[in-house]
Amino acid sequence: MAPDTNVPALEVHDLTVAFDRKPVLWNIDLVIPQGKIVGIIGPNGAGKSTLIKAVMGILPLSSGYTKLFDLPLNDVRGRISYVPQRESVDWDFPASVMDVVLMGRYSKLGLFKRPRKADRDAALDCLRKVGMEAFANRQISQLSGGQQQRTFLARALAQQADVYFMDEPFAGVDAATEKTIITLLRTMAQSGKTVIVVHHDLQSVTNYFDWVIMLNTRLIASGPTQETFTQDNLQETYGGKLTLLADVGDLIRRESFPQREKKL
């Protein structure tokens, strides 16, 4: 399948995700073109990680649907990669850096097949791209935070996907790693890959991202950084709206339990 560069990398329609009937994401609609470095920003609990997990099908959707390259998720699994939050795994696990990067090849291998030399070479090549080739046989428990992040990045690269979802790759890494990562993301975007990054640090947004998604349970704005990353939108994303949104959430929850209202 020749990738058509005009098809949007990601489309989200009317997406709602709720835990316990409390909406974490509410009515999200957005379209992301290919070849962009996209930042998802918003306050804590705004649903940033939830958005990428829902798009990848790790979390169930309450309503709405998503499409990647105009196809449903299950048809494009092989073209999606994911860099989870560093803290989400146990780094004391008995595995080497190479073992972790090779996991990126698993989806290409299929069931019952073992990684071959070609897979090892590909993994080593990805380690080289993140400056970690000397650490291939290192125990993952001996890595620094930045090295852990580079290992995860190398694993995602080894997958040779077209869309990459990254959950806070810049959190708690050293300056050198941050620079390596952003250089890598730019190279990826230049070769037509789409990179969608959950991001915390507002100061680096204009510098790093071509496109921003501003999120606070509902979508505040999505568009090219220069037009979208404005004072007004920031105010709306982070400003004194938190209490109001919580009230809306409360109202919605009460409406879905009319019997309780009657008892009161």
């Binding site: 997990k53 990848m56 099908g57 790790i58 299950n74 699994r77 092989g78 999606i80 990669s81 994911y82 989870p84 989400s88 795994v89 146990d90 696990f93 008995p94 595995a95 080497s96 073992d99 972790v100 996991m103 698993y106 989806s107 291998l109 069931l111 019952f112 097949k113 073992r114 990684p115 125990q139 428990s141 694993r155 997958q159 979802f165």
Partner: protein, 290 residues
């Protein structure tokens, strides 16, 4: 020859348990193994009542189903009732175990099964239950065949699904992102644990099988940083415990299964102190050297 039969059976049980135990402890599910080993009791009793014999296949099926049902119940309580995992485990397995105890006491007269046997096993009887071919040749104890088949099945399962088991254990979120079903592999692993527990219970009992599920795997975890070596070392620790435990029991004239479980604990303690990487002894030595 009887010594050999008993040690071989114990080693087969210990190896099967050790292999699965490695996955359990890395998934932080050691207590789920404990829960399954107890919760299969009603399954064993019911299968016993329905089939009226110690026919291993019926038992394996009955208990295997109950084992998977146990994990399902634990997840259900955890996710739907918002109960903490440890509380969900505690409620589920004690309840199922209690049902099993009641069933045994009701039907105690009718079935050839007693609580002591179920709880503590009796590996010393292994050489008595022989398979005799139609021509009258002694083919050896039945337990060795059953446990041998179980061990081969588990090795096949781990070798065939190595990538998927390894990935879903290390990073389940990434596994589901690339389209590997974490719940499928979870339930497959839990079925394997159930089958192993049930087939082992006749020889080591429902309580001691937990020691063999956890202790050798925990020992191996302390001794290596390589997962494949961890699997090998866990088996080695289990076999060592079986061998030394048997001779300890003979020397003390005590329970064989008890001695094996006690020694797997002692082997763990030795690893804790003398492990070259994590051991207390070498850490102290390094501190002094500095």
């Amino acid at each position: 020859m009887n010594d050999f039969y008993i040690i071989l059976t114990a080693s087969l049980v210990a190896s099967s348990c050790a292999l699965l135990g490695c996955f359990l402890i890395l998934r932080r599910m050691a207590m789920v193994g404990d829960a399954i080993s107890h919760a299969v009791l009603p399954g064993i009793v019911l299968a016993f009542l329905f089939s009226g014999s110690r026919d291993s296949v019926t038992m394996l099926l009955g208990a295997g189903l109950i084992g998977v049902f146990t994990t399902f119940l634990i997840e259900f309580f955890h996710k739907k009732a918002k109960l903490q995992t440890d509380a969900a485990i505690g409620v589920t397995f004690t309840w199922l175990f209690a049902v099993g105890v009641v069933l045994i006491s009701i039907f105690a007269g009718k079935v050839d099964l007693d609580q002591d046997c179920v709880l503590y096993g009796e590996i010393a009887y292994v050489p008595l239950d022989l398979i005799i071919s139609p021509s009258g040749t002694n083919l050896g104890p039945k337990a060795i065949y059953v446990m041998g088949i179980v061990l081969v099945l588990i090795i096949v399962f781990i070798v065939a699904g190595y990538k998927e088991l390894f990935l879903t254990t290390f990073d389940p979120a990434y596994a589901s992102a690339i389209g590997i079903s974490t719940s499928l592999w979870h339930y497959l692993l839990m079925s394997a644990v159930s089958v192993t527990t049930v087939s082992s219970f006749e020889s080591v009992g429902a309580i001691l099988v937990v020691a063999l599920l956890i202790a050798p795997a925990a020992t191996a975890y302390l001794l290596t940083d390589n997962f494949k070596w961890m699997l090998v070392l866990a088996c080695a620790a289990g076999i060592l415990a079986s061998l030394s435990g048997y001779y300890l029991a003979v020397w003390l004239d005590g329970s064989i299964a008890g001695a094996i479980a006690a020694l797997s604990g002692i082997i763990f303690a030795l690893a804790m102190v003398f492990s070259p990487t994590h051991g207390l002894f070498f850490k102290k030595l390094r501190q002094v050297a500095h």
